[in-house]
Subunit: 345 residues, 4 copies
C-alpha cells in the first residue's frame, strides 16, 4: 500500500482527493493537514465522510509528512514551493496541485505569482503533469506540477491541431466557463450563492493567471510562439469546465477529417473521449469523473475551427489528474481508482 | 457473476442502476430494455456512459430477460405487475422499483393506483425492501418491492420512536422536500428548468401516493393504527430528499436519550448514520451515495420531537437500495458495490 | 416628496429598498449609509443600479440622517436600537428592518439577542409592522418594527385559524424554507454557492431567533399561550420563503369552509391572496413582489390542517413590507410603489 | 390608451410582455390568445398574475385582434407571417417577436426556416427592430421584426467596432450563453431541470438560426461581407444572455480609446451602458430590465479585441425591446414602462 499525505485538506480539492483516494485499492491516506483545523476530525468538517474517513487534521509537519510515500499539495500558491525540497530530500514524492511548479520559468513565476523558488534545482525537477503529453517523463517524476483546470481542458482541446500544424498558433481563442468550486472554499462575497446563482459573467479578461501556463505548454508542443486570447467565465454551477476554442485553419480539411484526427490522437488515452461528428459535450456528462470529452466543428465549412472540451474541474482538472499522475509515478495501472462512472443528473 | 437485466432503462432510476452496477464486482448487466429506444446504444442516449457501457437497448422480451439471474424494473407503475410472474416462473428474481408491490393489500393498490394484480399468489410473494426492517425476509426473497424515496426517508426517521412506542402514532407529521429527479425524465412543463429553478412549492398536499405505503409499513412496526399527514415539496435541485418529521412524545425523555436511542437502533446498519446532538443533516452530504443521515431534536424541551432525515432519492431512495436488496438476496456482502463516498460539492 | 434614508445599504435588504423606492412616486432616497463603503458610489457596488441611482454611500451620521423624513434600518441587530432615539427626537420617523424592536419585551430581547434598549420609552413606542394585524396603529406610528421574513409568512398563515380559535394553539408546527438571501450578504462559507446549490438542510432546529417573535405576536392575536415548533431550512435558491404549517382542529370544519374563511379574512388585503381549493402556492409566483399567497388543506378529512404560505423574503418579508408600512405612516395609498408584477421565470 | 393584443400568450415571452405592459401607463392589454388555453383565465395558468390580470385567453381571431392598435406575436415561427397582412390591412400595427420578418431576404427565410411569405409586399414593409440602429425607421414602422435575443446582444457588442471599420469583418467570433427561458416553455427533455441544472454545453455549433440574422444586419452596418462564427451555449439559469465577442483589430488603438469609442457611441442610448475600463458585466445586473451592459478589452495589448455584452433574453432580448419599439411607433417616450430597476439577487 502507498502511504499518502494531503496538505491543505479543508478546500474542495483536498476533500475531492480524499473522496477519490478512498476507493483506490493501493493507497491509504495517512495524513491530512490543515493550519486552521488541526485536531478536528476530517469527518466533522465534511459530514459526507462520516463513518468512512477517520482521519484527524494534523499540522503542517514536514517530519510527519515525509513518512508518506507521496504528498499532494492542495494549498494556496507558495506553500509547495517552500516545502517540496524537504520532502523530496526524504524521498517522498510530491504532486503539487497549486501553480507553484507549472511555469517552468522563474521569471514568469515571479511576474504572474510574485514567487521565487527557494531552491532552483528542486524547481527544475518538476514535470508538468499532463499525461496525454508527458506520460513518459511522469513515470520517472519525483515532483509533479499538476495542471490547472482551464489549462487541462484548453490544452487537450488544442493539442491535435497544433501538433499537426493545422491552425495559426498566433491567433488562438479560448472562451471557457467554470463552476464555482474552481474559486475555492474561501469565504468571499463574489462566490456566495446569491452572487453566483442565476448569473453568468466573465472575469480576468485582461489576463488570467492560467494564460501563461497554457501558452508555454502549447508552445512546447507546437514548437512555435503561441498567441492566445483567454476569457474565463463563472457559470452558476458547482462543478465543470467547458472550453469553447477557436482556431484558424491554414489549409482546407473537412470536419470529418478533423474528427478522425482527434479520434486517432486520443484513441489510446483512457480519459479522453472524442464525440461523434455533430455531438456537443456537456459538463454534466463528466461530473465526478476523470474524463475529458471533446468535439470538433468547422462551421459553414469556413476557415474557423471550433473545439469544445469539457472536464470536471475538481477531477480531471485537479484531484483526478493528480491521482492519474500518481498511478504513473508508482507504476500502477493508469486508471486505477478512477473507474467510477460520472454522476448524472 | 450475477447476470442482471434492467427494464425501463431510459429514466433517471434506470441509468442510476447502470452507474452503480458498473462498479459492482459481482454483477454484469446483460440486458437493458426500453420500448422507445430499442436498438439505440445506451451510451448514445446517456453520453456519460460513453466508452464504458456498450449495451444496446433491447425490447421488452420476457424470454430474453428470463435468462438473467435478476431483473430490476425501473418502469412506470403496472409493468412489473404484469411481467413479474413469468420471470419468477423462469427462476429469475425480480426487484421492482415501481410501486406495484409496495402496498401489500390489493384493495389499496386498486384505490391508489387503479391496478389489479393478474396473479395474486405472485403479488403475495413480494417482500418490502427496507433492509433496516426486513433484512431476514429479504435474504430469501424472490420478488422485492423496493420502497419509494419519501417512504424510505420517512420510515427510517420514525422507526425508532414508533418501535419504542414513544410518540402518539395517530399524529405523525412529515414535511419533505425532493429534488426534481424524483419526478422522472418525462417531458413535462412542471419540471422544466424555468419552472423548478429559483422556486419551491408543495404538491399533493391532499394525498400523495406514497402516503398509504408509509402508513401501512409503519403500522406493521408499531402494531397500531398510524395517522400521518404528509406534505411533499419540490426543491430546486436535482437529487436529494429531506424529510422533516414531527411527533408528539407520550412521556418525558431527553434529547440526549433520544439521540442515544437512535444511535443504538442503527449502530449495525451500514447505511444509516445518526448525527451527533445538535447537527443538522444536509442532502449534499449523501449525494450519489446509499447513505441515510438522521438527526433528532426536542426543541425547547417540549413534547414535540423533530427528526430530520436525508437520502439521495436516486440511491438509497431507489437504485442503491435495490442493489442493497440484491446483495441480500444473493448472499453477497450488503455493502458490495455501494462503498463509493458521496460526491460533494 | 418624502425624503428617505437607508442605514446599512450594502446588504441585500438595503439594495432591495433602493430598488423598490426608485419606482415609488412620492419618495426620494437622499441618503444611504455604509460603514465599510463610505465615499463609494452605490452603483459601483451594485452595477444593476448604474446610470439610475447616483447616490454615494455616506457614513452613519445622525445629523445627516435626521434631515430625512423617514429612515430605514437594514442593519445588523443593535444598530437601530442605539440610533432610533436621536432620529425620533429630530422628528424623523424610523422603520427598523432588524429585530431590535420586534420583541415587545426587554427580557426576551436580552435572552435571544443579548441586547438592552438604551431608552425604554423609545423601545415601547415601536409598533409591530404587520399591516394585516396592526394597520390602524401603523397609521400613527413613528417607530415601526418591521417583521422578520419567516414571522411574516407564518403569522399570515396561522392568523385566521387562531383568530377563530379553530386550532389548538399549544401545538402549532411550522416547517419553512428560505432562499439564501435571507442569510445576508456577508462572506460566510455556509452560504457559498458550492455549499447551497444542490443542497437542502434544516438549521436552528433547537431554537431560531424568529421563534419568540412569531409566538408572542400570535399570542396577542389568539389571547392564549401559543406553543410553536419551528424548523427553518435553507433552500438552494436566492429569494423566497415557503412556510408549511400544521395545526390540529378543535372541531369539524370542511376544507371548503376553511378556504372560505381564509378568503374572507383577507378579502380586503391588497397583498394577501388565498388560492382556490386544491392549488399549491409557489415562491416563484411572488418573486420580487410584495405578495403573500396562501392555501389551506385538510388532508384525508382528518383533524390536521395544513396551511401553505409563500412570500419573497426580501419584499413582503423585508423591504416591500417596510414600504407598505411607510405608506401607512405617511397616509399614502398602501400599494403605492409596490404594484409591479412578480418576475417569473 | 393604446389597445394591445398578444398572440401566443402561454410562453415565457408572452407572459413577460404582459408583466411589462401591466406597468405601462399608456397601454391596456385587451386580448391575449392561445390555441391550447382558449377560455382559461390567464391568471389560472400563471399564478403570479392572480388578482392583477383578469384576461381570459381567447382564440386566434383576426377580427378580434384587429380591434387592437397593436398586436404582438410571441408565437412559433410562421404564425405572424400568415396573419400580419390582415392586421395591417385593418390598420393594426404588428410587432413580431418570432423570426418571420427578421431576415429581409425570402431566400434566406426559406433556407433557414423553410417559410415563404404569403404576401411579399407585406414582408418588405418590416422594419428590423433594433432601435440603436433603426430608430428613425421604427418611428414610422407599421410592421416590426423584433430582433432575436442573441442577435441583440451580439450586434450591440460589435456595432461600434464595425461602424468604425476597426476590425476585420471577415473574422468575427461570438461565443454566447443563454438561460433556459430562451428555449421556450415547451415540454422537452432537454430543458428539464435535471438536464439543465449543474450543466453547461454548447449547441448548434454547426449553424444556429440566429447566425444569418446577425450576419445580414451587421453587413448593413459595415457595408462589407461579414464572416461570423457563432457558438451558443445553454447555461444553468433561467434568464440572461452573455455574449463574449472577439475581433481582430486592423490598427493600433488603446483599450482606453476603445472604451471611449463605445461610451460615445451609446451615450444617448437609454438602454445601453458601457462599463468603466476593467469591469466585467454580469447577467444578474440586468435581470428583468431592458438594459444592455457592455465592456471592451484588449488583452495583453494584442490585436485581439474582446467585447462582453449582457442582456435579459426575455426583456432587451424580446418583450422589453418590443415595448421599446412600440413606444417609438406610437411616439411615446422611448423608456415608458421600462424604467423598473433590475431585480438582483
Amino acid at each position: 500500500m502507498i502511504s499518502a499525505g494531503i496538505v491543505g485538506g479543508t478546500g474542495y480539492t483536498g476533500v475531492e482527493l480524499l473522496r477519490l483516494l478512498a476507493s483506490h485499492p493501493e493507497v491509504r491516506v495517512d495524513c491530512m493537514t490543515s493550519r486552521g483545523a488541526e485536531g478536528t476530525a476530517v469527518a466533522d468538517l465534511f459530514p459526507s465522510l462520516r463513518e468512512r474517513i477517520d482521519l484527524i487534521f494534523s499540522g503542517m509537519d514536514v517530519d510527519h509528512l515525509s513518512r508518506c510515500d507521496v504528498v499532494f499539495f492542495a494549498t494556496p500558491h507558495g506553500v509547495a514551493l517552500e516545502m517540496a525540497g524537504a520532502l523530496l530530500a526524504a524521498d517522498t514524492r510530491v504532486i503539487d496541485l497549486s501553480a507553484d511548479f507549472r511555469l517552468p520559468d522563474t521569471a514568469l513565476l515571479a511576474r504572474w505569482y510574485g514567487l521565487t523558488p527557494p531552491d532552483e534545482a528542486v524547481f527544475k525537477q518538476a514535470v508538468y503533469g499532463l499525461p496525454e503529453v508527458n506520460r513518459k517523463a511522469l513515470r520517472c517524476a519525483r515532483l509533479v506540477a499538476n495542471p490547472g483546470c482551464y489549462p487541462t481542458a484548453i490544452q487537450l482541446g488544442f493539442l491535435p491541431l497544433l501538433e499537426q500544424g493545422l491552425i495559426d498558433p498566433a491567433r488562438l481563442i479560448a472562451s471557457a466557463a467554470s463552476g464555482a468550486s474552481g474559486a475555492g472554499r474561501g469565504a468571499k462575497i463574489e462566490t456566495l450563492h446569491c452572487e453566483v446563482a442565476e448569473n453568468f459573467h466573465a472575469y480576468g479578461a485582461t489576463g488570467h493567471r492560467h494564460l501563461p501556463e497554457i501558452q508555454i505548454h502549447l508552445e512546447r508542443v507546437s514548437r512555435q510562439r503561441v498567441g492566445l486570447t483567454f476569457v474565463p467565465h463563472l457559470a452558476p454551477m458547482n462543478r465543470g469546465i467547458h472550453a469553447t476554442l477557436f482556431g484558424f485553419l491554414r489549409e482546407g480539411i473537412s470536419e470529418a477529417e478533423l474528427n478522425a484526427l482527434y479520434a486517432a490522437r486520443y484513441v489510446d488515452e483512457p480519459f479522453v473521449q472524442v464525440l461523434p461528428l455533430g455531438q456537443h459535450p456537456a459538463t454534466a456528462s463528466v461530473r465526478a469523473a476523470n474524463t475529458c470529452q471533446l468535439a470538433i466543428f468547422r462551421p459553414q465549412e469556413g476557415d474557423t475551427v471550433v473545439v469544445l472540451a469539457v472536464i470536471d474541474n475538481l477531477v480531471k482538472g485537479a484531484a483526478g489528474q493528480a491521482i492519474q499522475n500518481m498511478n504513473l509515478m508508482f507504476d500502477l495501472p493508469e486508471t486505477m481508482g478512477l473507474e467510477a462512472l460520472p454522476v448524472t443528473p
